[in-house]
């Protein structure tokens, strides 16, 4: 297929197919570097802190948290929504960008999807722990029981159960189906018998037959078609948790698309944070190029600006509605006791991504890394602002109060960060971080060598 000379190559360095395999799989074969050990040690410590906090919560109860009668949802739900949001990028990249035929997706989709799965696991932890009794978590599923009761299908929290578990399950099979051919590659290059047996088992007997490939493509495409509305539905339903209520600041119809766009925004920020480190550590700069970083930054401007418009719309409508509670809730957000959180959110989410309008900044690895962390912070504060500032001034001034997290809540959050990085570090040791077969598929049309032949 013809490619315009205006397009930059997606894979640098004049690679052939064999080099692609070698470059991507070599980090899996050797011994991990000392940075890897340092990383996993730090993550392990964070995980231990989280373990301690989990123990406190389960053993002593939710009283260990800083919640009170007015503010029943604090860091727990904030972290839940934050993690689910981060978990949106992977499936967005592999599903929606596949449908839009964005070839640059092939270099980042594998690890972004892995990140999605891990982030959704971290997210799922918070509702479970908030129930207090982890072992009774299965109560949330409708099953025939001796109390002859069903779950409440009118509750958005229950919709969440279905949305998150479907999202996790479908993302998992989507990721795994894409992984199978690459696991076949790992199997065929394995040096030891044990490795061969393990990857032989995991690769499901993949042979690379043309018939299999044809069906594989159909399955990937239809899964993408199914996953695309699924991605939208998950954060939509998360937003319903808030928006179906009558709490000023929560009940607003723009929430569903605005949450989805915020989720993709934060997800891409996290992908950038991880990929900028990974490409350096695993020498994958030829595959995850500045061009990829620039494309992701463009998605960040787009989604960041949508979020910005939504903030302003909400603010304007709060005044326009003429409802005094609504107006007060937003005034309180911006100028009340939690104003600092609001302005952190505004700066990080609305102002910093606008810097990406400059091509120089879009293509600067260091600045992108810094801004991506800003966005991660900003999106955490967005959820904090929505949850806490809307609750802490309720309809009765006598119950107005403030909220501060305890060290146990901090521990749970840090613990999930530890879990996230531990699992991600294990992932890059065990699975190929780049979709080898997919990159080979676009090598001819988007690699550097194609450019040379075209100009002849």
């Amino acid at each position: 297929m013809y490619t315009s000379p205006l397009r930059e190559p997606l894979i640098r360095g004049n690679k052939n197919y064999k080099q692609v395999t070698d470059d991507v799989l070599s980090p899996m074969a050797g011994k991990p570097s000392k940075y890897w050990y340092a990383g996993i040690t730090l993550a392990g410590i964070a995980l231990l802190f989280g373990g301690w906090a989990t123990f406190r919560t389960v053993f002593y109860g939710i009283g260990e948290w800083g919640l009170n009668k007015t503010i029943g949802w604090g860091w727990g739900i904030t972290n839940f929504v934050w993690w689910v949001g981060i978990g949106h990028a992977g499936t967005f990249i592999s599903a929606i960008l596949l449908l839009f035929r964005q070839k640059w997706r092939t270099s980042i989709n594998r690890s972004a999807e892995a990140m999605t799965l891990i982030a959704v696991m971290c997210a799922g932890f918070f509702p479970l722990i908030h129930m207090g009794r982890l072992l009774l978590g299965f109560y949330i599923f409708p099953y025939p029981n001796t109390r002859s009761l069903w779950v409440n299908f009118n509750s958005p929290l229950l919709w969440d159960v279905f949305a998150i578990s479907t999202y996790f399950a479908v993302s998992l099979i989507f990721w795994y189906v894409g992984l199978i051919p690459d696991l076949g590659t790992v199997r065929d290059r394995a040096k030891t018998k044990i490795r061969k047996a393990i990857y032989g088992f995991l690769s499901f007997g993949w042979t690379g037959s043309a018939r299999h490939w044809s069906r594989h493509e159909t399955v990937s495409l239809i899964l993408a078609g199914l996953a695309a509305p699924l991605v939208l539905s998950v954060h939509t339903i998360v937003s319903f948790d808030f928006a179906t209520s009558v709490i000023p600041g929560w009940h607003t119809t723009i929430f569903p698309p605005y949450f989805v766009s915020g989720a993709i925004f934060s997800g891409f920020a996290m992908v950038l944070t991880l990929m900028i480190v990974t490409r350096k550590a695993l020498n994958l700069e030829d595959y995850i190029t500045l061009n990829h970083i620039e494309s992701m930054n463009k998605v960040i401007i787009l989604t960041g600006s949508i979020v910005g418009i939504a903030y302003l719309t909400e603010f304007f409508m709060a005044w326009y509605s003429g409802v005094e509670f609504e107006t007060y809730a937003f005034f309180n957000r911006a100028f009340g006791p939690y104003a600092w959180a609001y302005w952190i959110m505004m700066t990080c989410n609305v102002i910093t991504p606008q810097l990406f309008w400059f091509r120089k900044i879009r293509r600067s690895v260091l600045l992108t890394f810094i801004i991506s962390i800003f966005v991660n912070i900003g999106m955490w504060f967005e959820r904090f602002v929505i949850v806490v500032t809307s609750l802490h001034r309720d309809f009765l001034p006598s119950s107005w109060t403030m909220y501060k997290p305890t060290v146990v809540e901090v521990g749970l959050y840090v613990g999930t960060l530890g879990l996230f990085f531990t699992l991600f570090l294990l992932f890059i040791r065990v699975f190929p971080v780049i979709a080898v077969a997919e990159v080979k598929g676009v090598l001819k049309s988007s690699g550097e060598q194609k450019k040379i032949t075209d100009h002849e």
Binding site: N16, Y17, K18, T21, P142, S148, L149, W150, N152, F153, N154, S155, L158, W159, F162, A163, T166, A169, V170, I173, V177, P181, G184, T185, R187, D188, R189, G200, F201, L202, S203, F204, G205, W206, T207, G208, S209, A210, R211, H212, W213, S214, R215, H216, E217, T218, V219, I222, L223, L226, A227, P229, L230, S233, I237, F240, A437, E438, K440, G441
Partner: protein, 172 residues
């Protein structure tokens, strides 16, 4: 005992060219093994478009019906309960769960059908003709029956060589 003649190409464009020539000669190719999907191979092998999409559609319809029907049954027949003054048959409330089940059923049914139709699975044993087909080789496999004479085999090998394939080998 089946025997196979295999030969490889190092580039997908050569493969497609070669397949065209082999097809013109009327050689029946059993399979083509490639490291990534090569467009055009499906045409050269006269493959039909996959019908897995139908599985997804049917499973999706089942999921939607089941999801919606179950909620409706619970709240109108089995255990009607007034929640926040909502009607028992609260259609908008049933939509999210019905949607999620549609996607869940369609996705899983299709992936299971994919594994079954390809005979892939955790315990499946791969017939590996050449370990490098998952790396950078594009392998053409021709099946040779038991009764096939040496002459025929020679002929096939010659045809493959003429079509530019390398490393022609007969495997038992």
């Amino acid at each position: 005992m089946n025997r196979y003649i295999t030969a490889y190409y190092l580039d997908e464009e050569d493969l497609l060219k070669g397949l065209g020539q082999l097809k013109a000669k009327g050689l029946e190719i059993m399979d083509v093994l490639t490291p990534f999907p090569v467009h055009g191979v499906d045409k050269a092998l006269n493959m039909r478009r996959s019908r897995l999409t139908r599985v997804a559609f049917i499973a999706g319809v089942v999921g939607a019906t089941l999801g919606f029907g179950f909620q409706a049954w619970v709240f109108t027949v089995d255990y009607p309960i007034n929640i926040g003054g909502k009607p028992f048959f609260a259609v908008p409330s049933f939509m999210p769960v019905a949607f999620e089940l549609t996607v869940l059923f369609a996705a899983f049914a299709m992936v299971i059908a994919f594994f079954v139709s390809n005979k892939l699975g955790p315990a499946a044993k791969a017939v590996i003709h050449d370990e490098r087909i998952t790396d950078d080789r594009f392998l053409v496999v021709v099946k040779v029956g038991d009764g096939e004479g040496e002459e025929n085999i020679k002929e096939i090998e010659l045809a493959l060589a003429e079509a530019g394939a390398e490393g022609i080998t007969l495997k038992v």
